[in-house]
């Protein structure tokens, strides 16, 4: 259906808990604890106690099997009306984007009046699985009927089976970590160490400045004794960042450029965004920060080396711009998720590259350069951290507020994800 005939889906506001580096402030918090806290802060900010919301949707990338109904269980632990339906979504780091985008579509279609979307992740309280061989034996044991058969199954267990499988961020099909994948892309696009460190430094400085001016006062609620993202280094300098040793792409030797400083750390956190129809916002005297205009997903074949793992947003953006008759320069804010500084810089470079835009995106001319002063103006994941599924909600709520403060214009949001995927979205200011 065309965009014109649908009604607007409005971003009313958001709430997240401060993001915490893995195994620090939230070491004893579960995904459910954190998402419930994000929800409760949202409920309190907008007076939603006892209210039935049309739907709550979100998810986690690292999820215990017992959390099969993570979002619904969080709703049941909240002060929302417990007749609020909820469901889990999972699309790696784009989980939050997909959840919120789909809710916006349902609002546009008139299926929902109000919705909450978001996500949560913890690498501190990550599920640990038993080894595949032990799992096989345990399943055999559960099927065994006679004592003899049970003993026979048990007898197969060897000490080596007891080593657990911890989750990693490695790609199942390549065995490479995400950082090692990105290091190939970073190198292919000739992104320098200095450019990456500059982006990281700007992220920390911009995030700290946003805290200082109270920007997050109505976007964040403290949790577990933390009131600011504890990965943020307001006093970081190029010199300090320059001293760090490469953490990814070590096989590149001297030309390795990706460090712990210009890559996101493993992070715990949760975010939630409140959306509604215009009628819903008006009848509840709620603010309307921005319209959720449109969103687009893309995926690339990184397995056979045709494209870099985290380059899908470059493709999604081209399609999204075309569908909305916009050029890349028609935006007042660009929020490009900083999985790695190299990801952002490779994407920007690709958009400027005639050959890439022609061969890969099928365009007559490159999408071109963006005004870098409009990029991640209040900091992004390099400073705030990146609890996978929570990042989309963080960006969408902050961007909606930025647009509302400005009063006019639009923003482009881009989030890359594991599996060679990515989701991009357009928001439009409401004054």
């Amino acid at each position: 259906m065309s965009q014109q005939s649908a009604r607007n889906a409005v971003i009313i506001g958001g709430n997240r808990i401060p993001f915490a580096r893995s195994n620090t402030a939230y070491v004893n918090a579960s995904n459910q604890d954190m998402f419930t806290a994000a929800l409760e802060g949202l409920v309190a900010r907008f007076g939603l106690q006892g209210e039935r919301i049309g739907a709550v949707s979100g998810g986690a990338v690292l999820k215990h099997s017992k959390d099969f109904n993570l979002i619904r269980e969080s709703v049941l632990g909240s002060t929302l009306d417990h007749s609020t339906p909820a469901y889990d979504v999972q699309m790696a780091c784009a989980t939050g984007m997909e959840a919120i985008g789909s809710l916006a579509n349902k609002i546009k279609l008139g299926q929902l009046e109000s919705a909450i979307g978001g996500g949560v992740d913890t690498t501190s309280d990550a599920p640990i699985a038993v080894s595949e061989s032990l799992r096989g034996i345990l399943l055999e044991l559960s099927r065994a009927r006679s004592t003899k058969a049970k003993l026979a199954a048990l007898a197969k267990i060897r000490p080596s089976h007891l080593a657990p499988n911890a989750p990693g961020t490695g790609e199942p099909r390549t065995g490479l970590s995400m950082g090692d994948h990105q290091s190939q892309t970073t190198k292919a696009w000739g992104i320098t160490r200095e450019a990456q460190d500059e982006l990281a430094l700007a992220s920390h400085k911009n995030l700290a400045a946003a805290y200082d001016r109270g920007f997050f006062n109505d976007l964040i609620t403290p949790f577990n004794g933390l009131s600011k993202d504890n990965n943020m280094r307001a006093d970081s300098t190029m010199e300090k960042l320059g001293k760090l040793k490469p953490a990814f792409g070590k096989n590149l030797g001297e030309s390795a450029t990706m460090t712990a400083g210009n890559s996101t750390p493993l992070t715990d956190g949760a975010s939630a965004v409140l959306l509604g129809s215009e009628e819903y916002a008006q009848s509840h005297d709620l603010p309307m920060l921005a319209n959720f205009v449109d969103f687009e997903a893309a995926a690339v074949d990184f397995v056979h080396g045709a494209e870099g793992l985290l380059m899908a947003p470059a493709y999604a953006t081209a399609r999204l711009l075309k569908r909305n008759n916009l050029s890349l320069q028609d935006f007042d804010f660009y929020e490009i998720h900083e999985a790695f500084a190299g990801t952002v810089l490779s994407t920007l470079k690709a958009w400027e590259d005639e050959e890439f835009c022609r061969e890969k995106l099928g365009l007559d001319a490159p999408l071109g350069a963006i005004d870098r002063t409009k990029l991640n103006v209040n900091g992004s994941s390099l400073a705030a951290g990146h609890p996978f599924a929570a990042t989309g909600g963080r960006i969408i709520a902050s961007t909606a507020k930025m647009l509302h403060e400005k009063g006019t214009g639009r923003a482009l949001i881009s989030v890359c994800a594991a599996g060679g995927q990515g989701v991009v979205a357009i928001l439009e200011a409401r004054s």
Binding site: G47, I220, T221, P222
Partner: protein
Amino acid sequence: MTDKYMELVNTGATKKLAKLLGLPRPPRLRRYSEQGPLLPGPLLVLGNSARAQELSDTLVSWGLDVCRHDAGDAKLGGLLLLLDELVHPEELSPIMLAAGRALRQLLPGARVVSFSRPATADDEPAVAAVRQGIDGIMRSVGREMRGGATANGIVLENSTSILSPSALASLQFFFSGRSAYVDGQFLRVRNDQGVLAEDFTKPLTGKVAVVTGAARGIGAAIAKTLARDGAQVVVVDMPQAGDSLVKVANAIGATTLQLDVTAADAAQQIMDHAIGRHGSLDLVIHNAGITRDKLLANMDAGRWDSVIAVNIASQLRMNEAFLKAGLPNLRIVSLASTSGIAGNRGQSNYAASKGGVIGMVRSSAKLFETNGGSIAAVAPGFIETDMTSKIPLGTRTVARMVLPSLMQGGLPQDVAEAISFLGSDAAAGLNGQVLRVCGQSLVGA
């Protein structure tokens, strides 16, 4: 600690022991519940006043069992002394001696309340003498009360009637459990403004109230009490206290506003939120406050300046903005402290700020009245909170048990009740009031 001690000295064998040893036995206070009666038993009215009969009818309409002049041997829930027409100290004798006999018939949690007129420099000497004498009487009676009973007075200024809305509202407040920890105090009725609530249990229906410093302690109790009394509440606290603030908000259907009250645009943010989200701003409770205690000889700029900035300068700035915005019927209630009245060792900065609140309230009364509003302050004495639990045990025990007439610290709830009352429309005639909620303590806390 207080609860356990109170339990021991008031029950069974340990009660007898405590009596024998002459240990202080703090009484259980009669606190407010929506279902409870206004007084625990019949009310005896002594003395004469113009419109006494109309007052009596009103008291009956409140569901009270009213006896005029004599109650026989009946146990009494309250004693009302009409002293507003006395012109000479010699006239006190019959009524006070009758009152003295009635004191022996008071039930636990009873109330003694007087109506009188203010002593001013323009009065005849004998008139001024009897009027000022009543002040001494009621404060003394307060000290003689037992079983959690209290004695307080209502002073009718500017020829206001005993039937003026704020006089009646003050009477209701003193009678009810809402005034449990108010003892030996006077409320001064300045004018005939104010409207009695149709429903005494919901005096703030339809009002939008903002409470600063609402994440914990007294602020959280205020927020809960205002919501109980019918207000839509907005809870405000520092961004760092946001998680506690959420719990307070979600328990009472409030909305949160994370805000540093010292921010230059704090008042604007409060108005934007209250009006934008709830349609109006009717009541602001300036509760946010900090202590940074140090003997003045050792005081540093950080401690001094932060206390002044948070506790008084922020309120002055916000009030100015509220006045400039011309909000109709806006009521303000500020938190003062008995430290601001009596002083306290190590609290010169805090006393400056809290004394400052009292000065600000008195001076701002006429400014807020212009738009139909009002301003008042509550000065808590020793209140059992996280803040006072840090005071050394010995000092704390003395502060809570020995010096106040009620022999115990108050609860955050006690402060909240006084604030809800002073912020209600019925209290409009009490504009400029500073009410102590201290159990008739002699010290600041």
